[in-house]
Symmetry: C2
Amino acid sequence: MIPEAVGEFQNLLGADRVLTDEARLQAYKRATIPVNRDICAVILPRTTDEVIGIVRIANRYRTALYPVSTGKNWGYGSANPVRDGNIIVDLSLMNKIIEVDTTLAYAVIEPGVTQEQLFTHLETHATGLMMDPTGAGPQCSVLGNALERGYGITPHGDHFANICGMEVVLADGSLVRTGFGHYTQCKATYAYKYGLGPYLDGLFTQSNLGIVTKMGIWLMPKPECVEAFYFFAPNESDLPGLVDAIRELLLQGTVRSPINLVHRDRALTMIHQYPWQEARGNQPLPEQVAAHLARKEHLGVWNGIGALYGTKAEIAAARKTVRKKLKGRAKNIVFLNKSKIFFLKRLLRPVVPILPSQLRSRIDITEKSFGILCGVPSEISLKTPYWRCTTPPPTRNIDPARDHCGLLWFAPVIPMHPSEVRAFVQLARSTVHAFGFEACFTFTAVTARAFDCNFPILYNKKDLEETQRALACYETLMDKCMKEGFIPYRVGINSMGKVVDPSDTFWQAVGKIKSALDPHLILAPGRYSLD
Amino acid sequence: MIPEAVGEFQNLLGADRVLTDEARLQAYKRATIPVNRDICAVILPRTTDEVIGIVRIANRYRTALYPVSTGKNWGYGSANPVRDGNIIVDLSLMNKIIEVDTTLAYAVIEPGVTQEQLFTHLETHATGLMMDPTGAGPQCSVLGNALERGYGITPHGDHFANICGMEVVLADGSLVRTGFGHYTQCKATYAYKYGLGPYLDGLFTQSNLGIVTKMGIWLMPKPECVEAFYFFAPNESDLPGLVDAIRELLLQGTVRSPINLVHRDRALTMIHQYPWQEARGNQPLPEQVAAHLARKEHLGVWNGIGALYGTKAEIAAARKTVRKKLKGRAKNIVFLNKSKIFFLKRLLRPVVPILPSQLRSRIDITEKSFGILCGVPSEISLKTPYWRCTTPPPTRNIDPARDHCGLLWFAPVIPMHPSEVRAFVQLARSTVHAFGFEACFTFTAVTARAFDCNFPILYNKKDLEETQRALACYETLMDKCMKEGFIPYRVGINSMGKVVDPSDTFWQAVGKIKSALDPHLILAPGRYSLD
């Protein structure tokens, strides 16, 4: 039935927005994880009405559709569907910023709106508002990341928590507005998210129950000041104290944004590529090489980053509390704000051309990581996938999937009990070391009570043996962690089967809802779902 | 089929936990809103297994069940079902506090756990934790209020946002654990709420899709200091400036808990009963009587209350910002903390017996309202329903439904645009005045972008004419506000029909989910639902 459906899609959208030639499809099949999906076609709607038309055609021909916003789901499958034989619905042409309310601090956006686009809009229109960027780079969809429940590290780091009001096309072609939006006259649609009656937004995150074509997203007024704090601890054994400090700072509300705790080995992947020569071809990276590189980069074994937002006086008070909580737990704490960075750059300006490139890049990274805390999307996190690549990352327009980077994200949630964090670290490290990979921990305090451990398995995708080993490592790690109760907050398209258990009443209930809303199972079959 | 079902319930629970005699049912039929439901029986399970057994019996006999936690849904119907002919499932005997984690600051509770019970548990076990109390009094269910998306005014004021992990009995008798809970080995079940795959918790709030038998609730570590701030503005026209100040303080994160803005006429209902004599029998309360009483009580026309939580230094810095934002917008600001109250009481102790009762009660109210900000449930808000009663509220064990108080809650959400707030005030006031009732506004900043206006229509339920007038007033007000786009965040059992529109695709989608999860429509028919 696919050819007939494709014909109908061409009638609806015109031939230029229905891609079927292999060369065009190839770009959608790229991924940093080892998959090779059979994709039938890619269609590119421009309006919600076209999405409704697409869904109706798909129902008639029983065609499986796989919607993506911009397809930058790095490390989880990029734009690839969970199963073979789907048609990708690429929503990137639906990229209107429909409204920005500067008083109530929100925007209403379509799926194709990228981080860079939203940021630029907020700046050029002098809205006085800032967004929370995620690490997936400037070209990543804001809406898509929020639907995957991605996160950042500003006070609006929990992206799902800052969605307010969705417009969703269901599989039967009906258009549903969640929250208060279906009371079309409502004045508070983008100011209060729960609406009246059941709160449905959660249903359309990490699921295959509808195509979100529009959503409200809360933004922040730019604060008077932003002050980053960086802290460093020299020993593995410093971890429990840091966990306690981070939890206490968040629970008591001194810090209102997620704090990141980055292991030395992860930090190295952000500023280096695998030092094959120093490692003499060994895998994983030998301890003494890692320790040597870390010393050169002034890295601790554990490196923390967080930020304070508010007035000067509020930040001064919070700074005291941060110092007190970290005292005896971290070795150094450095506070940094815009004026300090400005001053530093100004001071160094005359000598920049003669500075070692390492120091120049260090200043650049510091500035960009500070930028992220201020709502400026950047590509700094996108360098990590190039760790074991044989080519260096490009200086801009980084695309790990295009450049054959090998990256498998594993992202389990760990409660902020020091003993649990330590148990997880030991389990994960021993597992990946046995397969010859580095243990690249970043703990992000996505709540005051739990870390998401953002854990990449980095490999050279051009090397078949290493690729197979990476996949085996990933699967072993996932199995072991699931067994020990460290469950991921999000998984790649290759792992849905591991987390969706047909005998579990939770997934059975999700299955019943799926059948009720999408009886022909046309939307993203298998995505966080039995069907 | 009801008698057969009742027989089966008796077999399951024993005769003493199946109530059918009219005298016992009478207590469940009481309400502060004018309804008179035909209730068949009340059954009282003690365990989740019993709830599962009940649901299975109900499916066999097609009996409609109406679950209540403690039935204290004051002003919205108390324990009464939406429709006639239901059997009430009273969950108040399921009142175990299953777990309190003092490190991660959460509790796991059953539906019957009351605010007082949780508070007492936290205190007597010296957990160092505090809860957020809602205004419905010490005997109100914590879980029930959270499922209705009720709120309080501490940093955990958004009760639904602080639910983490539910256990739900579905209509088919299956037991579903939401979030991570269905991965039974998971370590982060009560530390991270979204789980993996669709986030379902919202489905079980303001709905009839399942019976929640257990849930995790996040608590706060007691802060070093709590400082309340009260602010007063003398004129109606001060409202826009106050709205701006409140929004700015919340959006920038200086204040992290909902701020309340209480109109003079509402404040009077909390400390007085209707002054029939002074009003010479007139309704609504004449302006000059209200103004006179307000002067005696040192009330502004608009009265604000909020609080700061943190270390001494953090609070000192935030206090400065609060002062600055309110300057020129409020006339007076008073900051109050534990030591000031202690000092004041100590100072006054020798003279308390000879103080005018009014002043004594004022001190008592101040202490109790400060207590609420510190997580201590109290009955102060429960006095309001007695405003037009002919008898005074009892000094404790206040029960407005038992005491024939007339209270209809209307609770629309208003975006924090001053013009919208003013438009709503004018509309609501002119409407209720025309019916002879006071306009009792409390605006609670449930988000940084929207107020819930907690608006009671208070009447004498023993007076038939006044009761009918109150109902007509409520319905007119609701119709007008809905038309103008001020939609309620929650409605009473008498108003479901007004907000659930069968032609709306939102409610159609909810209907499909309902049919999929509860094909025989046995759970709470008509509750925020077509069926």
